[in-house]
């Protein structure tokens, strides 16, 4: 049984009978004929025999991995932000920011390539750029560079800005479980003004695995 989380930039695939862990491939390299038993993600409906909406997959995966009744999980991907807040085993709130929080991960990847930066070596800045969206945030970066900031400083401030925005979007919790591609970005994670637990990039696949088992 193959499970697929078909993101905008990257696709996570998992043959749960043959592979111990999922694998990641670039979404642009996915063959059109690929079919999975269960699929989620932005492009999931194109490839899955059954499509599961991303919030449901995120919530199911988080419930499986997190042994608490009250928690908030925030998924920061290439294209959007999603969160689910549980309270007493019930979904207390949920949000999916596909417009105002759009293209954050994708924009960071573009910037790193353009300026030849490595986010693993970037220091966490003390200041941040007030951004809510990757596309609109670009002009803030260019303005900062024009005013004398080095590209790595400007991009790090941009990343910190989107981290703070994502944190507020999730309801400003005291503890936050993070998933998605941006959870692997140290500047992003360390910019969060709360306790952070990183769950990695396969939480939605865990949700699909749980759904497949019931």
């Amino acid at each position: 049984m193959i499970l697929g989380d078909f993101g905008t930039s990257y696709t996570k695939l998992w043959d749960i009978e043959k592979e111990p862990v999922p694998r990641i491939v670039r979404s642009m390299d996915i063959a059109g004929g690929l079919r999975t038993t269960l699929a989620t993600g932005h492009n999931g409906a194109r490839f899955g025999e059954r499509y599961v909406n991303e919030l449901t997959a995120l919530a199911r995966g988080a419930k499986k991995l997190i042994k608490e009744d009250d928690f908030v999980i925030l998924d920061c991907g290439s294209r959007d932000l999603k969160f689910v807040s549980f309270s007493g085993d019930k979904v207390r709130d949920t949000g999916w920011n596909a417009e105002c929080g759009a293209s954050l991960g994708f924009t960071i990847e573009l910037l790193e390539r353009y300026y030849d930066l490595d986010h693993r070596r970037m220091p966490v800045p003390s200041t941040y750029l007030p951004v809510t969206c990757g596309v609109l945030g670009l002009s803030h970066i260019f303005d900062a560079i024009i005013q004398g900031a080095r590209p790595e400083e400007a991009v790090a401030s941009f990343i910190k800005g989107i981290a703070l925005n994502a944190y507020r979007f999730a309801g400003s919790p005291s503890k936050l479980y993070l998933s998605g591609g941006l959870s692997e970005n140290p500047v992003f994670v360390k910019s969060m003004p709360c306790e952070v637990v990183v769950l990695g990039r396969f939480v939605l696949l865990e949700g699909l695995r749980y759904i497949a088992s019931i």
């Binding site: 909406n53 449901t56 919530a59 959007d80 019930k90 207390r92 949920t94 949000g95 596909a98």
Partner: protein, 261 residues
């Protein structure tokens, strides 16, 4: 400004009227009179002509309540003899301003009413087991009828709640189970007491409930506040159409809280 009663003073106008648009819920007395005169009544809150919200940009901002933009589009494109527009607590301040705009821009009588009807007709449709879409259609069509509906549908035990106004895009309603009870202003509509602020605030704390409002409507504040205080409430607002992310939020919320399989 004319009250509901004063609107009847324009009896000569009413006698000549054939096609009448209504906005919100004018008082029952107005509706009785119009029906008695044989007028064909159109609910301008609903879609009657091909959506062309660009037409409204000459009069009101593009970022504005989609329902009121629909009203303006209908009013501009339909051949109406008069419009009765309810303003005040039974509708919204936006309708009050829109009434003035329509009065200036259209060459037909635009009559403001204030619906303060307080005879309660109950909520058999809101609490029935009919599909939510069907319930909503019955209630919105009921605006045209001053009498109570005949043959009340059978009540069901609720599995979920929908609180709010009839949405501009009804497709959100397909996400709910049939055992969804309706609350909020839609409940006031069925009860024929649109200004009943106390009834509007009621929701069932025992079932997961989606608190819906049109984007840019003042009711977003009430929906947001009530959702935050409900034991299992989700606040949602939407503009012209229900987007993919909003649809997913509602679906996940209902599914994860056991309202749907």
């Amino acid at each position: 400004m004319l009250s509901g009663e004063k609107a009847f003073l324009q009896i000569d106008q009413v006698l000549m009227i054939r096609n009448v648009g209504i906005v919100g819920m004018p008082p029952r007395e107005v509706m009785f009179r119009l029906k008695g005169e044989g007028a064909k009544i159109y609910d301008l809150d609903a879609l009657h002509v091909k959506p062309d919200l660009e037409i409204t940009a000459s009069y009101i901002p593009r970022v504005y309540c989609a329902i009121l933009r629909t009203v303006l589009t209908n009013a501009k494109k339909m051949f109406l003899d008069a419009i009765y527009i309810d303003v005040g607590e039974g509708k919204c301040s936006g309708a009050l301003y829109l009434a003035d705009i329509l009065k200036v821009e259209l060459n037909i009588p635009v009559i403001q009413t204030r619906n303060e009807d307080n005879v309660r007709f109950g909520n058999p449709v809101c609490e029935s087991g009919l599909p939510l879409m069907e319930k909503m259609e019955l209630i919105t069509q009921g605006v045209l009828e001053p009498e109570a509906m005949k043959n009340d549908p059978v009540r069901c035990e609720p599995a979920a709640g929908f609180w709010g106004v009839p949405p501009r895009d009804f497709s959100i309603l397909t996400l709910f189970p049939a055992r969804t009870h309706i609350f909020g202003w839609t409940r006031c509509m069925e009860n024929k007491t649109p200004a009943d602020a106390e009834l509007e605030k009621i929701a069932n704390p025992d079932v997961p409930t989606v608190f819906f409002a049109q984007s840019f409507c003042q009711k977003t504040a009430l929906a947001y506040y009530l959702a935050r205080r409900h034991p299992c409430g989700l606040y949602v607002d939407a503009d012209v159409y229900i987007g993919h992310s909003t649809r997913a939020k509602v679906q996940a919320f209902l599914e994860l809280n056991g309202a749907i399989d």
